[in-house]
């Protein structure tokens, strides 16, 4: 339809700002998001941590990995902003470099969980009946288990705790949660006549699910993704804290906390600053998630 490039309305047709209006709706949504101060704050903090993760060398004043380069266990001062740890490493540098792991695993896990959950939600919401009943009970079962317990169980069973195992674990645990939201959206979508019309022209189920229904339930999927991302960061930190995923000496917030929390009195700075870093990231992601939810669900 490239022949209709020029949008001059045909004589007698309606004044046609309709097209531009839909487009402005989308840009309006973005504008509204960026105009919200809390969202802006969140975005800036997240971008900062991403930058640190990508170029740790550019921001960290000292080498974050090698031991015994600096005086050990110095409290924060103007040379070492966050102090140094018992191994003689600059805590500030280690905090700046410590976002890499979490920023890799958490989004990957959330993405996996969202994709899986969306598929499960589409299938259960579309077919209903026995498929839905069986899957929903399984989902209930997974949801009733505490995340950490399930994770430990899986890791023990697999006998491996690499990064990607953590991604898969969190993804699998999140999928049922996402599937519930998507299922609810799909249920109300299948009531609409366009689904009936597709069936009446002989469309196959997978076409109806993925080409007809999916585009209409993307809003809740996007919202769910951002909300889950906040939880995922927390989950990754928790798992790393109990020793899965990253191993020392790689700088990682949760690993640092794990290493030094027993020394919190008097070496509070070794634990506090990585903890604040995790908090800043979780809070920022949640601020953005809240903004997105508000704009999408308006």
């Amino acid at each position: 339809m490239s022949t209709v490039a020029s949008p001059t309305p045909a004589p007698g047709a309606a004044p046609a700002p309709v097209r531009s209006e839909a487009r402005t709706a989308r840009s309006e949504r973005l504008r509204l998001l960026l105009r919200t101060p809390t969202v802006m704050f969140g975005v800036i903090v997240i971008l900062f941590w991403i930058f640190c993760a990508v170029f740790p060398g550019l921001v960290a004043p000292y080498n974050p990995i090698f031991d015994n380069q600096l005086p050990t266990s110095q409290p924060p001062d103007w040379t070492y902003f966050f102090g140094t740890d018992t191994n003689g490493r600059d805590v500030f540098s280690r905090v700046l470099a410590g976002s890499r792991n979490i920023l890799l695993i958490a989004p990957a896990a959330t993405l996996l969980g969202t994709v899986l959950g969306t598929i499960i939600g589409l299938v259960t919401g579309y077919y209903r009946g026995v498929v839905d009943d069986v899957t929903s009970r399984l989902v209930d079962a997974v949801l009733s288990l505490p995340l950490i317990v399930t994770a430990i169980l899986i890791v023990t069973a697999v006998g491996n705790s690499s990064r990607w195992v953590v991604v898969v674990i969190i993804g699998l645990i999140f999928a049922p949660v996402v599937s519930r939201t998507v299922r609810a959206a799909v249920l109300s979508e299948t009531e609409l006549d366009y689904v009936q019309a597709a069936r009446l022209r002989g469309e196959r189920s997978h076409y109806i699910m993925f080409s007809e229904i999916l585009p209409n339930v993307l809003s809740p999927v996007v919202v769910e993704f951002t909300v889950r991302l906040g939880y995922a960061i927390f989950a990754v930190a928790s798992l790393t804290f109990i020793g899965f995923g990253v191993q020392p000496p790689s700088p990682d917030w949760a690993a640092q906390i794990n290493q030094y929390w027993t020394l919190i009195d008097p070496y509070w700075w070794m634990t506090l600053f990585p903890a604040l870093a995790i908090a800043s990231l979780v809070v920022s992601v949640n601020l953005v998630a809240d903004g997105i939810r508000e704009v999408y669900e308006r």
Binding site: M1, T3, V4, P7, P9, A10, G12, A13, A14, P15, A16, P17, V18, R19, E21, A22, L192, D193, Y194, Q196, A197, R199, L200, R201, G202, E203, E212, P215, N216
Partner: protein
């Protein structure tokens, strides 16, 4: 308020109302003036987006946050409404004005018993709890709720739509308001229920001497209910006057056009196309220098575009805003009249035949008999209209034909071949032969897909064409339903209701169907758009010999488009015959009652036959003739005990009634049954 001979209950003068959208004030009402005397009723009509509901919200001062009255005056019972402070406003809402909305289900609190809700209307007036409860019961009795003592203990969802609306009306009248505003109060209700609610409102109004502002898009309802009427277009009152003169002798081209769009007075498709109003409503808040209707008016000249006409009265009390009032009646037709419809060949094999079709739904252990022994046939090029109240089985019949639900007994035949009961088991050819146009185009079209994607997909599945050929056929299809090429690239949310319905029709016709089920295809549309869609359906039928199964509650529309009509009641065909025969009678007593319930624009018409009570439950249908519990012409025990068969009473005319046709003829010629007969059951 002591009664003076006549006092003005509502006076609106030069009302200008704006909505602020993205920082700009957009005018929605442009200098609207009218007034209602106490005890009178005033109708406000117009198509969607003309500002009628905004006017009502302005009068009760319930405007949304971005709405504001920018000029003009509103006074109710002599008091300036716009000058009210917060306390006076609360007092005003509590005592002087009441509003009844379209959807009674959402106007009632679902978690509160009916009695308590009605009592609340009294407690805000300062009545004690105990007395309020008593008065609530009386109020429910006053709106003719049969058993108020049991209704007070029920929740709103346990009541039918008609009952819910009565409860809302009871609450609205609790304060004996100076002004009662009814905003499309019967739009969601069945014809028989609508008629009862309208009767009720008319009686109560006479009794209480309240002023009523009646907002509706239905000119028939306005004609029945109102003394005066104002026609709104683009936020401007274009014509105003006594109901009879405005509807019989309109002086504004818009009113003339609107009246021509409506199929009425027994007009049928072979008499020609319906006239339409071309073009679209002015954009909300557009700035208009001249007449608001200039862009769509056939009488337009240069003066109309630059200068806004004043309201001028040719006869006292009847005014119009038009420079060419004298020529409005002779407004040139916008549509060619002639249409060539081939006669139906009933010796051919019917496209579709229902053979003793039955459908039973299981619901909480009970059997719901949605269809019972339905037999009918539809021939090529024919339209079979289906009418009946909600719950009569119209939709189930259509869904059984399409295979969305499988029949419990009997069969559906296509071209003389028995079809698989469910669509999943039908061949692609059978699917292509039977398509559907849905009631609500918003729901029927995927809002994330472009128009061309929707049509291309339908072509590839139903016509088996792909690639460049599919693109060519898409353009062809769009042209046939008069969609401009520009709309093809748009998403459906960007289109108006009428354009959306055209897309839906084009989709149904992608594979050259033999029969298209139309389930209330125009009920979500404005009358001028409805006329265009009906014309399109008739044209497509004339061109391609397609058949329609046409469901509608609008009897004028059904009569216009149908060759034959089937009247359903509790899943049974009560009457089946040529459209004119079914309408002109002698007809089944149920058909008679149904027809008498519909208010007509021309006024007068039939005397209303009141049906007692609601439709019985299909889970537990009455013995004998299922209609005997409500039938005003019940003969006696034979009706209670023996179900009459559906028999041919004259050529092509089938009926399910114990009363012989000739007797019905004399009975119905003598007028409606005595009111006592109806009241007895």
């Amino acid at each position: 308020m002591s009664a003076v001979a006549t006092t003005t209950a509502l006076d609106v003068s030069d009302l200008e109302l704006v909505y602020r959208v993205r920082g700009i004030d957009r005018p929605v009402l442009r200098g609207v003036s009218f007034s209602i005397e106490q005890g009178q009723s005033y109708g406000l009509v117009g198509e969607s987006g003309c500002g009628k509901s905004t006017a009502a919200l302005g009068i009760v001062r319930y405007l949304p946050r971005n709405g504001r009255v920018s000029a003009g005056r509103i006074s109710v019972a002599g008091r300036d409404v716009l000058g009210f402070g917060a306390r006076e406003l609360r007092e005003y809402h509590a005592r002087s004005v009441s509003m009844v909305y379209q959807n009674p289900g959402s106007a009632l609190n679902p978690g509160m018993k009916v009695g308590a809700q009605v009592a609340e209307a009294f407690t805000v007036l300062g009545v004690g709890n105990k007395e309020a409860a008593e008065r609530a019961r009386d109020a429910l009795g006053r709106v003719q709720i049969a058993d108020p003592d049991s209704v007070v203990g029920r929740y709103p969802h346990q009541l039918s739509g008609g009952m819910q609306q009565r409860v809302v009306i009871a609450m609205a009248l609790a304060k004996d308001p100076a002004l009662l505003i009814l905003d499309e109060p019967t739009t969601g209700l069945d014809a028989t229920v609508e008629a009862e609610v309208l009767d009720l409102v008319a009686n109560l109004q006479a009794e209480l001497n309240t002023a009523v502002l009646f907002i509706s898009h239905n000119l028939g309802v306005i004609s029945k209910m109102c003394d005066r009427v104002g026609v709104l277009y683009g936020g401007r009152l274009v014509e105003e006057g006594p109901v009879e003169t405005v509807l019989q002798n309109p002086r504004h081209p818009y009113t003339v056009g609107l009246l021509r769009c409506i199929p009425r007075g027994g007009v049928r498709k072979d008499a020609g196309r319906l006239d339409t109003i071309p073009g679209f409503l002015p954009q909300l808040g557009a700035s208009i220098a001249g007449c608001v209707f200039a862009d769509r008016c056939a009488l337009v000249d240069d003066r109309c575009r630059t200068e806004g006409p004043e309201m001028t009265e040719e006869t006292p009390g009847h005014g119009a805003r038009c420079f060419h009032q004298d020529r409005a009646r002779d407004l040139p037709r916008q549509e060619a009249l002639e249409i060539d419809i081939a006669p139906i060949d009933r010796s051919a094999t019917p496209v579709v035949r229902f053979e003793d079709l039955g459908k039973v739904f299981k619901q909480q252990g009970a059997d719901i008999h949605a269809l019972v022994g339905v037999s009918a046939a539809i021939w090529p090029g024919e339209t079979l209209g289906l009418v009946g109240e909600s719950g009569s089985g119209k939709t189930t019949l259509a869904r059984t034909l399409l295979g969305i639900v499988g029949a419990t007994s009997g069969a559906v035949e296509l071209d003389g071949r028995e079809l698989a009961p469910r669509f999943q088991k039908r061949s692609q050819n059978d699917l292509r032969a039977l398509q559907m146009v849905f009631q609500n185009p918003d729901s029927a079209l995927n809002r994330r897909h472009s128009v061309s994607r929707i049509l291309m997909r339908a072509l590839s599945k139903l016509a088996g064409v792909h690639g460049a050929e599919a693109e060519r056929r898409t353009a062809e299809l769009a042209e046939r339903v008069r969609l401009s090429e520009r709309t093809l690239t748009q998403k459906t949310v960007q289109l108006s209701g009428g354009l959306k319905q055209r897309v839906a029709i084009a989709r149904a016709f992608a594979g050259d169907p033999k029969l298209v089920v139309c389930d209330e295809p125009t009920s979500a549309l404005d009358v001028s758009v409805q006329a265009a869609i009906l014309n399109l359906l008739v044209e497509l039928q004339a061109e391609r010999g397609v058949s329609y199964l046409f469901i509608s509650h609008d009897l004028g529309v059904v009569r216009y488009i149908s060759d034959r009509i089937a009247v359903l009641y509790l899943g049974r065909v009560m009457e089946l015959g040529p459209a004119d025969v079914v309408f002109n009678g002698p007809h089944h007593p149920y058909t008679e009652a149904l027809l008498s319930a519909v208010p007509t624009i021309d006024g007068g018409g039939r005397e209303r036959i009141r049906l007692a009570g609601d439709i019985p439950s299909a889970a537990n249908p009455p013995s004998g003739c299922v209609f005997h519990t409500r039938c005003p012409r019940r003969l006696g025990t034979i009706c209670d005990e023996t179900e009459p068969p559906l028999v041919q009473v004259e050529e092509n005319h089938l009926m399910r009634c114990h009363i012989p046709l000739d007797e019905l003829r004399t009975m119905q010629a003598a007028g409606p049954p005595a009111a006592t007969a109806a009241a007895a059951s």
